[in-house]
Amino acid sequence: MVSYVIRRVLLGLFTVLLVLLLLHLLTTLAIQLNGNPALAFFGDHVPTASQLHAVEVRYGLGDSCYQQPGNPCLGPFWHRLSEYAHGDFGTDLEGRPLTDLLAQALPNTLRLFVIVTITWLIIGMLLGSVAARFRGRPIDHSIRLTSVLIDAFPVFVMLVVYRFIFTVPLTTWARRTFGSDSIPALLFKPSYSEEHPWLTLIIPGLLLGLTGCAPFLRLVRAAQLENYNAEHVRTARSKGLSNAHVTAYHIVRNSSVPVVTAVGFVFADALSGAVITEGVMNIRGMGNLLWQSVQKSDVSVVVGIVTILSVVTIGVMLLVDLAYAALDPRIRLD
């Protein structure tokens, strides 16, 4: 088991390196294609001389490799890696260090993810289990139909519809009925409020969780169905064990493996969804930071955040792999 863990961690670190290299290569190419490298970081803006200089220094744009499209620019890559190792992820257009901005934004994103996870657990696991248990009956069909419908609605559309069509009438109605500072009024607020972090996050979190839970639900259902008919379940029943015992120990436990692996895949989507959610609903989290930076063409921030989020994704996938090994002994001995 220990060797498995060590191997997975080393592999994870290697992947981190590869991912950073890939991002570097892509950004380098984009900069090279842009003609004037430094200007690539400013989009439509016209930068001041000092901003231009800061970017040139930070990214080592003085290096001639940036004038040659196709040159992988490994020198600047190593330089950037050492900066990352020191915790230096650059600054935004106004000179604020990215790490500071992230530290402020992180709690909000975490809060959002808590709500999303709870939504997945409740809706995804519960409904998936119910659908599996009553397979073929009306409730199974209606659950699956609902999951198809939910799936079809892109997060973006749901949020735009909610934010631009529903929030204003809902808030007005809530204010009129319950008062300006009441819970319902805050629930439906069109944008995030610092004083009521949890309340204003509930509905966006719910919506985001809803869109992601459909594949989760289907997976839970499929995994449990596979186990209902599995031979080891038949064996367990033949030993005279009660239904409750069989369900807990032999069905749920065995279906946990594919479900946990699913978390790894769904996480990447959830991250994208979070970016959209925070962006549209103006929640000051990491996703919003990214969203705003794209809109403002603050490219160095964009580069920094995408890098960090990719590393986070690798971390999550590593955790999933380790959980997988903990749950299924067959893998540990590879």
Binding site: E231, A236, D328, L333
Partner: protein
């Protein structure tokens, strides 16, 4: 666990362990209803071995699973007959009582030990799961019992092996684990559903010998389900032959081999390759077992029978006829002997 049966010494001596009486099992798929088991009847006494022989699709496994109530009840349904353990009607028992009787007194060993064992729990856990869950045996005692069970089935180094997982055992060892697990609650009836089919020949012999020894020691009733007549010869006392969901022959083992009464049995015997027939062509039974949804009219075996007469096609399927000497066969021409 207290006995749930009203049981006296006299009853124990008189009532057979297991009686299956005219069992019918059907499967419903959409609008189709398929008869998987059609009138199976047999009796099992303590210390005796009954072999149920047939090709795949003959209904033998379904019979075994029906006894243990392991069939998925839609789409399966026990549509007729009785199953009695020591005189008590199993089919009439509500679920918890049935589980008590069945779990404590009847055990089943499946063919594919790798699939039948749960891959995420240790062998030790699975061996004593029923002991701890049903009889609330404490963990330390359960561990010792697990070691004893592995000892019983001759698995070396049991103290170490109870901490291992099913995939760490070889095929033969896994099958021994399955048998050990089945014996954990000291059942009186053991059903072995193709216990050696997935194993190679030398291991087969070992497992069969083990089963025989255990059965003799504990005076258990053993039902051996197989498609391999060769295995039957060594171990069985009584043989039932099944085809397309029906019993087509039932006889003591010596009679089955010496004087098979049903053409199907005869064909099965002829198709066993024999060491003294080197150089000759293997005799196969032409055609395939019928799909249960398309069983031929009349006698279900007639399309493959060497002797296919008009009456076989037109008359209703023949019932088991008493031929004397404890032999029964379901054939219009059963009296005429079928020399192997």
């Amino acid at each position: 666990m207290t006995e749930t049966l009203t049981d006296t010494r006299a009853d124990r001596a008189v009532a057979p362990l297991l009686e299956v009486d005219d069992l019918h099992v059907e499967f419903r798929s959409g609008r189709e209803v398929v008869s998987a088991v059609n009138g199976v009847t047999f009796t099992l006494e303590a210390g005796r071995t009954l072999a149920i022989v047939g090709e795949s699709g003959s209904g033998k496994s379904v019979t075994a699973q029906a006894i243990m109530r392991l069939l998925q009840t839609p789409p399966a349904r026990i549509s007729g007959g009785e199953i009695r353990f020591r005189g008590q009607d199993l089919l009439a028992l509500p679920e918890p009582e049935h589980r008590a009787v069945c779990g404590e007194h009847i055990a089943i060993v499946f063919q594919d030990a790798l699939a039948a064992l749960n891959p995420v729990y240790t062998v030790g856990f699975q061996l004593t799961e029923a002991l701890r869950s049903r009889r609330h045996v404490p963990r330390s005692e359960a561990r010792n019992r697990a070691v004893d069970l592995l000892d019983l089935v001759q698995v070396p180094n049991p103290r170490q092996r109870i901490k291992e997982y099913p995939h760490q055992f070889s095929g033969g060892m896994r099958q021994r684990v399955m048998i050990a697990m089945a014996l954990a609650l000291e059942p009186e009836v053991l059903i072995a559903d193709e216990p050696t089919t997935a194993l190679d020949v030398t291991v087969q012999a070992q497992i069969m010998r083990l089963l025989g020894e255990i059965q003799a020691e504990r005076e258990m009733g053993l039902i051996l389900i197989t498609h391999d007549l060769g295995v039957v010869a060594e171990v069985a006392d009584q043989v039932n032959v099944m085809y397309a969901g029906r019993m087509v022959e039932a006889a003591p083992v010596e009679e089955i081999f010496a004087r098979p009464a049903h053409p199907y049995t005869g064909a099965l015997l002829r198709s066993i390759p024999r060491l003294d027939q080197k150089g000759q062509q293997l005799e196969a039974i032409g055609g395939r077992p019928p799909e249960l949804s398309h069983i031929p009219s009349g006698c279900p075996f007639h399309p493959r029978c060497p002797r296919d007469e008009d009456v076989c096609r037109t008359d209703p399927p023949p019932q088991l006829r008493d031929l004397g000497d404890d032999r029964y066969a379901a054939c219009h021409f059963a009296e005429e002997s079928q020399i192997p």
